[in-house]
Symmetry: C2
Subunit: 213 residues, 2 copies
C-alpha cells in the first residue's frame, strides 16, 4: 500500500478481479432492487459485472442525495464497518460479492491491498470532484459535467444513461425540472443529441467541455 507511482496498478486491478471471481458469489438484482441498506453492516466488496448501481443517502425529511453511480468493472466498496449509503440497481444488474473475511483470509497479498487502496483513492478523487461541482457550478455546468463523465466512462459514441432524471437531479443537487430544462437547452444548442430518454450522442465535445467549466 504505497502512495504515489503507477507501476503495478493494472496488475493490482487484475488481482482483485481474479480474486473476486475465485471467491465471489454472483447475484442478480432487478431494477430498483436494494443491494444493501444504510446502517447495514458493511462486510463485503462488490464488483459490478453488468448493469449499473447508484448509492444514496437520505436526510430526515426525505431529501435524497445520490453519492455515485457504478458501472461494469467498477468496485463498490464501503470502507467503514457500517454502510453510510444504501445501494440499488439502476436497472437489472449482476454483481460479484466477496465477504471481507474472505479478503482478510488472503491477507499478506500486497497486490490485493493495493487494489483496494487504489479503488478507495479513486473514490475519494471522484467525491472531491463532486464537491467542486455541487459547491461552485451552475445548473448548466453541473449537467454538462455529468454528461462528460458518462460519455468518458461509456467509451462508445452513443452513450447510455441508465438512470432516471430524478437520479440525475439527486446526484447534481438539482430538481428534475431543472435537469430536464438543461438537457433541452444543450440539445437545442446542438451540443448533444438525445434519442429516447436514455441515450445520447455528444455532437460538439469542445462546446460541452467549455460549458462544464
Amino acid at each position: 500500500m504505497t502512495l504515489a507511482c503507477d507501476t503495478g496498478l493494472r496488475a493490482a486491478a487484475d488481482a482483485i478481479a481474479e480474486l473476486m471471481h475465485r471467491h465471489g458469489a454472483q447475484t442478480r438484482y432487478g431494477k430498483d432492487e436494494e443491494i444493501f441498506a444504510q446502517e447495514d453492516p458493511a462486510d463485503s466488496v462488490r464488483l459490478v459485472i453488468s448493469g449499473a448501481v447508484r448509492t444514496t443517502r437520505l436526510l430526515g425529511d426525505g431529501r435524497r442525495q445520490v453519492g455515485a453511480f457504478y458501472f461494469p468493472g467498477e468496485l463498490l466498496l464501503e470502507t467503514g464497518s457500517v454502510h453510510r449509503f444504501s445501494a440499488e440497481a439502476l436497472c437489472d444488474a449482476t454483481l460479484l460479492t466477496v465477504r471481507a473475511s474472505a479478503i482478510q483470509a488472503t491477507a499478506g497479498d500486497r497486490q490485493l491491498d493495493r487494489a483496494i487502496w487504489e479503488a478507495t483513492r479513486r473514490e475519494l478523487e471522484r467525491t472531491q470532484d463532486h464537491v467542486l461541482t455541487l459547491g461552485r457550478k451552475t445548473a448548466c455546468e453541473r449537467v454538462a459535467s455529468f454528461l462528460i463523465g458518462l460519455a468518458q466512462r461509456g467509451g462508445a459514441d452513443r452513450v447510455s444513461m441508465p438512470m432516471s432524471r430524478q437520479d440525475v437531479a439527486d446526484y447534481l443537487g438539482l430538481t428534475i425540472e431543472t435537469v430536464s430544462r438543461m438537457l433541452t437547452q444543450l440539445q437545442s444548442a446542438s451540443v448533444v443529441e438525445f434519442d429516447g430518454y436514455r441515450n445520447f450522442t455528444v455532437k460538439r465535445w469542445d462546446a460541452l467541455e467549455n460549458l462544464a467549466a
Copy 2:
C-alpha cells in the same frame, strides 16, 4: 490524533505520529502562506502540529472551492502523485512533513499502512458528508452543520473559528454575505453566541443540531 475507537487504531495513529516525529521535518508557515500548490508533485504526508490549514481548488474563472480544513493532530495527505488541491495556512501554523520515500523505506510496517488507510477512509467519509451538505442542504443548514463540525473538533466550550468568512463561504458553496446573514440569524435566535469574529459558544445544542438537519 483523534481517529475513532477501533482496536489497534489508536496504536496505528500513534505509529504514524511517532514515525513522523522521527523522520519528519518541522516547518512553520505564516498566515496565508502556501504549503503546496495544485499540480505540484504530491510526495509527502503532513501532520498539523499547531495552527490550521485549508485546501482549495480553483475553477478557470476564479471561483474557489475549499476542500477541507485541517487542525492539530490531523493528517494532510494527498493520495495521488500530483496535488489536486493547493494548501495554505489559515493562520500561523506548524507542520511536520515526511517524504513518501521515507515512508516506503519502512514498508512492511502494517500499522503504518493501517494509519494511512484510516486517514484516507476518514477523509472519504468527510468528503461524502460534504457532498450531502452541498447537494441537499439550505444555506442555514449548511452553516449550522459547519458550526457543529467545528465545535465537535474543538472540544472546548468556546470554539475558535480561525478561517475567514470567505473561507467558510467557499467551503459551503455560498457567498460571504449569506454566511454572515446566517450567522447573525443563528445568533439572534440565541443558538450560538459570537465574541469577536473568530470565536463562538454554542448556547443551544439541540436547536443547532435540528437546524443542521
